[in-house]
Symmetry: C2
Subunit: 335 residues, 2 copies
């Protein structure tokens, strides 16, 4: 069975193909009656326009690329689904790409991707959204793109983010409200912008409550389970260990919990542990983790929405900031 074409629809509706095209693309200047007739025929024939033909004739691909680099599976799946959903609503296609290179090689990789797919736009996730090389390459191609949680805010492109600093501050204040006065902190990956923000929020909360900042209670981390385990061991073997530990993400918080289990330290009776992100693992550790809910799905949905707005109007929409919320579970308790 041959696929229906725009000609079939035009013939059946008794109009020119240009009119069908107008209806399908929501263009003005079609009599309401004509529009209804065409739409009826489209439905009856189960007609779907050919993406290839539209792309070729219209000189655009109706394709959006989502690029990322090795973040956690739980995070990226949420992001994918948020972006997909928004694309689907607009009959755009989403194409996901995991980057492998770094620096200039990364720029080449992305450039090649754009050349081959002819994507109309790109959604860039952290930490790629902080790569100067990548941003420069996209700028040079003048490809419309949008960033999720970027570091440098001012730019010709919009972005979607959340307030990492305030979120970390609130979580710290929650721990303080439980009576904790010596709180350990595990930093995120040094190349991620959010890492600095979260540390800043932590420090602000301490300062606000007159608690001195103790550098020895702050350890480096890489956003990965192992680094949390290692940092947790360091903190918990100190002569005077903290009574609470706030890790910059859930994976590292899970590592801290393992370190505590190893040493027979009870959570939350002897130690409170808090994370950040509210990914799947937060509910799959014992006890379940107190954490900050990061709206990954919504961030991606909103970012994709901004991109589609740009593509449609040629204007640059305003950036979007989304809310977070503290999720208090069983890993934290009174001192």
């Amino acid at each position: 069975m041959r696929r229906k074409t725009i000609d079939d629809v035009a013939k059946a509706a008794g109009v020119a193909i240009k009119t069908v095209s107008r209806v399908l693309n929501d263009e003005p200047n079609v009599k309401e009656e004509t529009r209804a007739r065409v739409l009826a025929v489209v439905k009856e024939l189960n007609y779907h326009p050919s993406l290839s033909a539209r792309s070729l004739a219209g000189n655009r691909s109706y394709l959006i690329a989502l690029v990322y680099e090795n973040p956690s599976a739980n995070y990226i799946v949420d992001v994918q689904h948020g972006a997909m959903e928004r694309c689907r609503e607009e009959r755009f296609q989403l194409f996901v790409h995991q980057c492998s290179g770094r620096g200039e090689e990364l720029a080449r990789e992305i450039t090649g991707l754009v050349d081959q797919t002819r994507a109309d736009g790109m959604v860039v996730t952290p930490p790629l959204s902080e790569s100067a090389d990548l941003i420069a390459a996209l700028d040079q191609r003048s490809l419309p793109f949008v960033r999720i949680a970027p570091n440098e805010k001012p730019h010709r492109t919009p972005y979607a983010d959340m307030d990492d600093e305030n979120a970390a501050c609130e979580m710290t204040e929650y721990l303080i409200s439980l009576g904790h006065r010596q709180i350990g902190f595990i930093k995120g990956h040094p190349e991620h912008f959010a890492s600095g923000q979260r540390l800043k929020g932590f420090r602000i909360a301490l300062q606000r409550h007159g608690i001195p900042y103790e550098p020895d209670d702050v350890k480096d981390g890489l956003f990965e389970f192992e680094s949390g385990l290692e940092a947790g061991r360091q903190l918990l073997t100190k002569p005077k260990p903290p009574t609470a530990i706030f890790a910059s993400n859930d994976d590292m918080a899970a590592g801290v919990m393992m370190a505590a289990h190893e040493m027979g330290i009870e959570i939350p009776r002897q130690l409170s542990v808090a994370g950040f992100d509210d990914t799947y693992i937060a509910r799959a550790v014992w006890p379940q983790l107190t954490t900050v809910h990061q709206p990954s799905y919504d961030l991606a949905y909103s970012a994709t929405d901004l991109l589609l707005q740009m593509l449609k109007s040629q204007k640059v929409p305003k950036p979007v900031r989304l809310g977070y919320r503290l999720v208090c579970r069983a890993s934290t308790g009174p001192r």
Copy 2:
């Protein structure tokens, strides 16, 4: 800067566009010298053929759809990357789609997807690969597709899978070799084919070693953390609880571990726990989980390879069975 077209290449190489096309598509009947010259020009001009034009003229989309339904993020990300990698090698594009419907609605959803994207083929992951409605719909469209870990083997299409039964049998024998004689088992989702296979392997191992099958030590599960927690609580509060528990996947094994932690049961001293899949969580629980490594990436890579073979040769390649391996970590020990 205008994009390079096949005409630019043809002109620069002093040949007809048809010759350029032959070279780019690896068609025969081109003098080696001509081929080299064309290739040089392609490189020099940084020419990339337009997917839209190829698709429109060739009546194919060079697009493969990967469909799945809500499996764990860690699993699906591995699968995505395996399929992507193989597609990239062949200059095909991968388009991922998360299904939401079930039964006939699912069939409609997929049919609509195929109509809109014009995908040349489809990679179907479990449990969708077991949906009779879906398979029937694809058959009706005569769309080439390939299944990962399907239940019904004989079909016009090939598949890639692993030996779940033997893997589960081996893991059970490992527990037996540690001295365990009363082993609890948590079943997977009843609608997943692999669930039955894993239970079967468990039973075979018991039988082989003369251990009676005790229905009361076998609990239902849904492949989710919560169901593992619940089943674990049931098993561990029995008057005579098992000394080892084998959960049909890692998420449920993590649930069992939480149940044990709740009750102050030490792992592996008082209880051994084993999982299945070797996803990220297996290394993020304490103690780290003994499990079966399922080659998700390779399964997807191989399945996609089979599909591409089909598309090229119009023949149906043989199914592929991949190996697994036991990963012995710290959650299991001698009785």
